[in-house]
Symmetry: C2
Subunit: 339 residues, 2 copies
DNA sequence: CTGTTAGCGCTTTCAC
DNA sequence: GTGAAAGCGCTAACAG
């Protein structure tokens, strides 16, 4: 059996209450007593029982983190940053993978509540904030919730998002500036924040350039490699295929790379390629792939900042924070010359 | 305040104990009563308080998972598999990132014990099992520990490892069979299981081929991209540089790719490249990179299998399990012809 | 089969 | 400043 507070109290010849206060660093304790208790506790190897404490205080020092997967570089970064920073603050993080599946997400949220997490950083599932009500209920129960990367429509939850509209606009404009006119877009479904906004950014850039929006050039699909395969094949099989592909659906990048390779296309000579959300691998592809970086590390840190604030009692601002996107030019896009 | 067992008992007009039994599905309960209680509980939206339960039963339904980072594809796979499978079994996983830092790892283990994890899957830090004693202490306290990917020297902990010696042997032999004689090896430090074993595999293959071991051809370093940069530069700057590079240090692959790109080397014409531990990106590099795959998914699943067994009361076998490595030939290695 | 009872280890009034 | 005592919500003997 582990050593309990009672053991410490006995050994230090004080009451349990005093021992508790001393260890908690309560100001209403005699300094000498406190030192003594702390010493005895250390000598005995006392460690407070987190369950007994949680049962009493209703704080678990646990926080939840849900991401869709760990293949996406943005989610890897989010998980790393959240884990590392929260641990440094004395919190442990319960990781959950929602697989972008609303039902699974619902169960996860429930379980997280069961484990009385003190807070939650979630990349919510798309589809009109299917489980937004649960999140709101958590907020109501005084459990701060920070949405990252995606938001829940219509819910006043603090959200840390990427500047997707601007990012997609900048990316499209870059391609336009290089002389491309037929620009294929591979994007997420429009029931996700990022899908919708990136599409809007693309459209805005095209329209500002006085170009028509050709629906056949726009391929929306799930965030998955397969989407890239299907979409790239569709795009590249057109009678007049696009001269540039803007892959604003990170998970599908892999699929696009595969199609490009299978078709023996030379980048950037046969096709200009622009990806979205940077990954270490993009830089060392041959050629290095240009990308609209959405600032995963910045988002992660901001999300943690917000959570920490909330944890310390600051009220939910219901506000939305945006981390600016940045175009990183590498070697996969070149000027387009018509034949 | 949340609804408690007492509320359910009252509403169902039974005692707290009966309610508890009914919900636990104890066989010693009247079927009708049980149904009734379950119904009432559901209607009230009752959820058992995990802390109260844990305080009483000393099981938290929490398991710990420690990995060095989330950049390494093997660790991503491990984290995904462990999280997903354990959650399906009603366990939550506390993720911790040890950054390959023994001191941090020590704190992590302590915290995990404080949170009374029911079990632990750990990728332990190298250096002679610095924190092996802690792990052993956990085992002693009846908390099953499964080491994955790396092991702790001299401790009787169940370990699920890759067949590193065989893998490195097979990889080296492949290069040898292609006619390469000067094969550069970039590997982990010899204070890690994988570093040591992969080096041994390389040496064995070389010796079997009747080739001398040239120490200058062997670069050992931390598992980090920088290692790849330094090592590749050292190797490729030799008076007679190797005709093939066997990068048996996954994290350094990125660095090697960078050096290759900077030097304008053509793969596989100027240099054959063989990597270790497959990543989705390797397949879609141009050219696709051949790899010795160490079976991350299989290791992860086996580790979970072992943990689940242990959780169900099976004793620590102290045994070591190995998942066979597999050579995946793609397009980055070609036959060597001397000029 | 069901109810009563005694804690699990801790925090926190409330007296002194 | 310190101690006594009352639970937090649950499970598990132990009776009945």
């Amino acid at each position: 059996m582990a050593v309990t507070l009672r053991d410490v109290a006995r050994a230090a010849d004080v009451s349990i209450a005093t021992a508790s206060r001393a260890l908690a660093g309560s100001s209403l304790t005699n300094h000498a007593t406190q030192r003594h208790v702390i010493q005895v506790a250390a000598a005995l190897g006392y460690r407070t029982n987190t369950f007994a404490r949680a049962l009493k205080t209703k704080r678990s020092r646990l926080i939840g983190l849900t991401v869709h997967n760990l293949e996406n570089a943005s989610f890897q970064v989010l998980a790393s940053v959240v884990q590392t920073r929260m641990q440094a603050l004395g919190y442990q993080v319960i990781l959950s993978i929602s697989a972008d599946n609303p039902e699974q997400e619902r169960d996860i949220f429930k379980t997280l509540v069961d484990h009385s997490v003190d807070g939650l950083i979630a990349v919510p599932n798309g589809a009109n904030g299917a489980n937004g009500a649960q999140l709101l209920a958590m907020e109501h129960a005084d459990i701060p919730v920070i949405c990252a990367v995606r938001r829940v429509e219509g819910a006043t939850l603090e959200s840390v998002l990427a500047g997707d509209l601007d990012g997609a606009y900048a990316g499209t404009k870059h391609l336009l500036d290089l002389g491309h006119r037929r620009i294929g877009l591979i994007v997420g479904m429009s029931d996700t924040t990022s899908g919708k906004e990136r599409l809007a950014g693309y459209k805005r850039a095209m329209q500002e350039a006085g170009l028509p929006i050709d629906p056949a050039l726009i391929q929306a699909g799930r965030y998955a490699p397969e989407t890239g395969v299907v979409a790239a094949n569709a795009l590249l099989s057109m009678p007049t295929p696009p001269s540039a592909l803007f892959v604003a659906n990170h998970e599908s990048s892999l699929g696009v790379l595969r199609v490009v390779s299978e078709r023996g296309l030379l980048i950037p000579d046969d096709l200009s390629l622009l990806f979205y959300e940077d990954s270490p691998w993009f830089e060392w592809q041959r050629p290095a792939i240009s990308v609209v970086d959405s600032g995963a590390a910045e988002m992660a840190n901001l999300a943690v900042d917000r959570l920490v604030q909330r944890l310390s009692g600051v009220a939910n601002s219901g506000r939305e924070y945006r981390v600016g996107s940045r175009l990183i030019q590498r070697a996969s896009c070149r000027a387009f010359e018509s034949h």
